[in-house]
Amino acid sequence: MSTQTSPQSTPASKTVVHPLVDVLESDSEFLLVADLPGVNKDALGITVNGGQLELEAETETLDYRRSFALGDDVDLDAVEAKLEFGVLEVHLPKRAEAQVRKVPIKG
């Protein structure tokens, strides 16, 4: 979990936009997928802080920003992200105790 403070010095000329996202859920994790065309790995910041996931990214002309509320069942230490072709994928694994488990029944 990182708790870095994000720099607030954004030039006024940049337009702040919400990236479009998909939020998917499986038995073991949540998956956040965001369209961030023109965003380079170095210009992207993901912060997890107090149950909030904050996304900040910059391109030459735009400032992408959006934050998401995280449930208690997300394992914050195991969050992983990948950026490819301008699409960001954030994997948010569920805590072991929150995962659905099949209980075997003895006959």
Partner: protein, 141 residues
Amino acid sequence: MLIHRFNPNDHFRTMDMLFDAIMPNGRRATNFVRKPARLTLADEEQAFILRAELPGLDPEALELSVGDDWIELTAKRETAVPEGYTALRRERGAYELQRRINLPKRIDQGAVEAQLRDGVLRVSLPKHASVQPRQITIKAA
């Protein structure tokens, strides 16, 4: 330019947009959503620059062809929910576009360069020598 899908029946959103319009850039409460597959064409001195936001596009699914004074772009992206996942929210759409853009001047077809990086396509279309500006020397009479 800001693009937001305007819905005349969403009065709260409309109010937000009105307030946003009078607020300085950094203080906006609501943010705008960009339309996917946005295209811009810039007319520079030496070349036309076509820029397209195509996030998540496989380079294989992109086709470009140029003529004397036009460029044609075909791109397709599909978004599917991977196996084992259920969607809680889906905003990213699939897109399929086939656009032909007429250029106001002749271009040098052989010198066209295209690059797809971080989901942004940038095509440089150098103007043909016959339409480049020429300096005229003036003889002293």
